[in-house]
Amino acid sequence: MIRKEIRFVMPRTMEEAVLILDEVGPDGRVLGGGSVLVTAMSAGLGAPKVVIDPAKLGLDQIDEHADSVSIGARTTYAALLKSEIISERLPLLRAMVEEVTGGPGLWNLATVGGSCCYANPASDAPACLTALNAQFHLASTGGTRVVSAKNFFKGAFVTDRAPNEMLSQIQIPFGQAVPRTAYFKLKHSASSWPIVTAACQLVEVSGEKHLCLAMGGLSARPVFAEWRSKKPFSEKHAEAFALEATSQVSEAWADELADATYRLRASKTVALRVFKRVLGDDKCNQN
């Protein structure tokens, strides 16, 4: 039950939106799809005075540029699933979106931008976008600044976004070579939050192989590791890489569904599995 009256605004321009946000400060919230914000307000958790719905700002576009794809902050999971640009250029993101919990009711509503701004450690988007080296465009009355995923996700439910800033788009780079990718999501059952996720990508850049892994659910912020080599990576490396990546974590995340011990234990299996899928029998990796 939403207990207090709220001011609900649908600004027509970004300038208007950031001006309102600037005025109301921490009492303002920007609506994504509402799957988190509206639910929380209904449960009496958090009582914003102003809710800004960016529905009229055209932030639901997916555009391909020369070496990147930009995704409007209000793009739904359903739109991402439908997009050929995403399937062709960002197969790792596509694989992640396919694993998002819920049904059409959620996919048609919830947005990747909203999920990133919420920054729940037990969610899909933060780690995947970290693996993809996504750039977050944050608009305010002072202009727009761009923050990389590694700096955007600062902790559990904490991002680099200031209260007067609004996410406008997420820009994700892609290379010319087709990447080899794997996304693995461990969860207890269909309705469960992710417990541990792993997003892994292998690309070739100027004759060098770049292997990266980002894990979600394991720590308050995504765990990231990267390896570069002129020589092909082998499946034999998988175990050592998995250990290297997971041993970064000194304090694992815990929530109602899984404690830190379990997450750490399971993370090794999860990391190993994505490495094996990316590194195993890989022509791109072998040549």
């Binding site: 929530d255 109602e256 011990t261 190993l272």
Partner: protein, 793 residues
């Protein structure tokens, strides 16, 4: 097997549900849809502490909020109410002991979430916002946080007026257990800890009370599973005559026991409406629904057998932590648990010691299975552990130990008299339905792999038709039938539907007698002003008790109609048959029932000659397989019927993560004669889903301070459709020799067997990593912990 009665046209058929289209189109109105304009909404201020005294309550800030019409603390409510009487009496030696009967706390609190004040406003938003402004000062006291603490000598006493925290005890014995264990070749010991879980119905609790001062009449509409019990409790607490109170239970979005009588809000809302002389509504939020926990208990068992697998003795000692005892009967579930042992097995020596204790937790809410599911879980885990020890296939070991059909009827050590069944046949049917041999091959091939298969069996005995002396109401149900002057047939009955479709089954029974179609019968349920006194929805009794009552009433009406028909058509009344809406004489001449009804009302001296008018009949059914005279062990038998089922589950276990995926489920079920097989099948599938959920995922967790952590569906994990494979269902029919229609009750059963089978399947996949101690639900963190402790990974 078939019986003569099931050869009739409608019994054993599955016509469309009478209200199916309304449900499908969203035209059904649930309680919260019926809140009248102008009603005041209740928001509750709940205790954040487990135990303490209330130093002060300040309502001023809440009262100052625009739109707030009133606010009260417990003392103010108590001026208009007496404590609510318990729906279920304490068994001796505790008879008459007080329970926490006030709807809002007075002076002290006993659990987190107990209501300490109420705020009423014109909108639920305002009420909830204002409730946050009520300030309450507590002096916190040491709380009893678990069963061990409750039983310690130095424990605080949870309930005022009690001398200890023991709520009840049961001791059940057969044969000589000590001697049998001493002589046994093989003895296995084990332990099962069951964590708290809950029903999680789609529709939370809702009550709407409207006091009419003019006519001195109170109507309470809401999520009532036992309307007459609630009417009695509300009338008693409000110092009203029962006839001054009407309780209405509209369409329900799932009951499963959770909505049985005795929620504090029932009386609270009624009292507020009377105090304020306005309609008052309470709609529970999901978080509060999740505080309705149950099932928390620890069992320590041992089982003995000969080397060739003949089970000779079984012993179980358990302690259940039921929280605070209020007017609702959730706390009685562990007392039922003990009575089910040793389920389907022929075991000569049995000893059960059950202890139920009170702690500073919310009161238990009843749940489907009603304690019987836990007895079956413990029994089946014990048998499986024994099978592993003996190196005998678990299905084969069960075949060697279940009662043969000719041994039935037979008494359980608890005194319950099991009616009928063919357990070996059920196991054989399950074997082929599940594809047991094929699954064994797949399981064996995956042994030792990181991704491996486990298979589990679970047998279930579910006593039904509870008729405990002293409970209100108890062992009978009543049906009234009447035919209108135009021939419409209305059945009014004291059993209710939680959304399960039992009204269709009742209509089938009546239609079968009168030669009508089921959709010609109007079934009235859930309105204390319109239906006879009855239990409502509990213990699979709608068809089990309501069915024969409806049948008896319909036969009485048919007898009257037969006289009328013979008055008009000539011939003997005994030769009149009924089909297709007509009464048909031996010579083939016929008269429609509407013509008869109209004739009765317009030409009573000819058409109704020799008939005791009106065209109505009221009959009750009392079960025969209930015994109130104590047996040699001093025990009575309060369940009349004994459906059973055999379940098999195959799971895939990921030893790297502890993750479990359910691959296959098969269930063979015997509830005797099935009035409507489709309804039985779908209820059974729902029960299986609940059993799997309870076995694998569903767990309520609380913080050390007693606050609930799992208060939403993202943290309390129910199975979704994609979590479960197609559930294969097989039916058997061994009619009850004690029931006039051969029924044994359906609707509740199926939870226990699925729960036991899935837990056994996980243990099977774990193989040597499984421990003698099982914690349910067997979640991935617990599974991975076992694997790592065993050092096999």
């Amino acid at each position: 097997m078939t019986v003569e009665r099931s050869a009739k046209s409608l019994i054993g058929s599955s016509p469309s549900r009478l209200d199916g289209i309304k449900y499908t189109r969203g035209q059904v109105r649930y309680s919260a849809d019926l809140i009248p304009t102008g009603a005041l909404y209740v928001a509750l201020v709940r205790s954040p502490i487990r135990r303490g005294t209330i130093r002060s309550i300040c309502l001023a800030k809440a009262l100052a909020v625009e739109g707030v019409m009133a606010a009260f603390d417990g003392k103010q409510i108590a001026t208009a109410t007496d404590p609510t009487p318990p729906a279920f009496p304490f068994p001796p030696p505790y008879t008459g002991r007080p329970v926490l009967g006030e709807s809002v706390a007075i002076d002290a609190v006993s659990y987190v979430g107990q209501a300490v004040a109420v705020v009423l406003a014109e909108s639920p938003h305002v009420a909830e916002a204002a409730a946050e402004l009520v300030s309450v000062e507590y002096d916190e006291l040491v709380a009893v946080s678990n069963a061990d603490e409750a039983l310690s000598d130095s424990a605080p006493i949870v309930h005022k007026g009690w001398s200890a925290n023991i709520v009840g005890e049961d001791r059940i014995f057969a044969g000589n257990v000590e001697e049998a264990f001493a002589k046994a070749s093989v003895v296995i010991e084990g332990e099962i800890e069951v964590k708290p879980s809950t029903v999680a119905p789609m529709e939370p609790i809702c009550y709407i009370a409207s006091w009419d001062a003019q006519s001195h009449h109170l109507t309470v509409t809401g999520t009532f599973q036992n309307p007459h019990t609630s009417r009695w409790q509300i009338a008693t607490a409000l110092r009203l005559e029962e006839t001054d109170v009407r309780v209405v239970a509209p369409a329900m979005g799932g009951g499963f026991g959770f909505k049985m009588a005795g929620h504090p809000e029932e009386v609270m809302v009624a009292a507020l409406s009377k105090i304020l002389d306005r309609p008052v509504a309470y709609v529970e939020n999901r978080r509060d629904t999740f505080s309705g926990h149950c099932r928390e208990q620890i069992h320590k068992f041992r089982i003995a057998s000969s080397r060739d697998g003949r089970i000779t003795a079984f012993q179980d000692d358990f302690v259940a932590d039921v929280g605070v005892v209020g007017p609702c009967n959730g706390w009685t579930m562990p007392l039922v648990t003990g009575t089910v042992f040793p389920t389907l097995y022929d075991i000569a020596n049995v000893a059960i010691r059950g202890t139920v204790v009170a702690t500073n937790k919310p009161p238990w809410r009843p749940i489907r299975g009603y304690g019987k599911e836990i007895a079956n879980l413990v029994m089946e885990r014990a048998v499986d552990m024994l099978a592993i020890k003996l190196c005998i296939d678990p299905l084969e070991l069960r075949l060697r130990n279940v009662h043969p059909p000719e041994a039935l009827p037979r008494p359980l050590p608890s005194g319950l008299n099991v009616d009928s069944g063919n357990y070996p046949a059920a196991l054989h049917d399950l074997h082929s339905l599940f594809g047991y041999d094929e699954w064994r091959v797949r399981r064996d091939a995956s042994r030792g792999d990181e991704i491996r298969i486990g298979i589990g069996i679970g047998l279930e005995l579910t006593p039904e038709g509870g008729a405990r002396p002293g409970a209100f109401p108890s062992g009978f149900e009543t049906a009234s039938i009447r035919m209108s002057p135009t021939g419409s047939v209305e059945l009014s009955i004291g059993v209710t539907s939680p959304g399960s479709g039992n009204e269709t089954g009742l209509a089938q029974i009546v239609a079968d007698v009168l030669g009508l179609e089921p959709n010609a019968i109007r079934v009235r349920q859930g309105d204390t002003d319109k239906v006879p006194v009855g239990t409502g929805n509990a213990s699979s009794r709608a068809l089990l008790y309501g069915g024969p009552a409806a049948h008896l009433a319909a036969v009485d009406l048919r007898d009257k109609l037969a006289i009328c028909a013979s008055n008009v058509l000539g011939g003997e009344r005994d030769e009149i048959t009924f089909a297709d809406g007509y009464a048909i004489a031996a010579n083939g001449e016929r008269l429609s029932l509407s013509e008869i009804a109209f004739g009765v009302h317009t030409k009573p001296f000819t058409v109704a000659k020799g008939v005791q008018l009106p065209l109505e009949a009221t009959r009750s059914f009392q079960p025969s397989n209930v015994r109130i005279a104590p047996d040699a062990n001093g025990r009575i038998a309060t369940y009349s019927s004994f459906p059973y089922s055999a379940h098999a589950v195959a799971v895939q276990l990921d030893a790297g993560t502890g993750h479990v995926k359910v691959l296959d489920i098969a269930t063979v079920h015997d509830c005797g004669v099935m009035v409507n097989p489709a309804l039985v099948t779908e209820q059974l599938k729902g029960a299986v889903a609940m059993g799997i959920g309870a076995g694998l995922w569903e767990e309520l967790k609380t913080a050390p301070d007693g606050s609930l952590l799992t208060d939403r569906f993202k943290t309390y994990l129910l199975p979704r459709a994609t979590d479960l494979p197609t559930i294969k269902v097989g039916h058997m029919c061994t009619p009850s020799p004690f029931h006039p229609l051969g029924l044994k009750g359906a609707g509740e059963s199926g939870v226990a067997g699925a729960l036991a089978a899935v837990v056994n399947a996980v243990a099977d996949a774990l193989s040597s990593d499984a421990e003698v101690r099982t914690v349910v639900p067997v979640t991935p963190p617990r599974i991975l912990d076992l694997i790592i402790k065993a050092g096999t990974r």
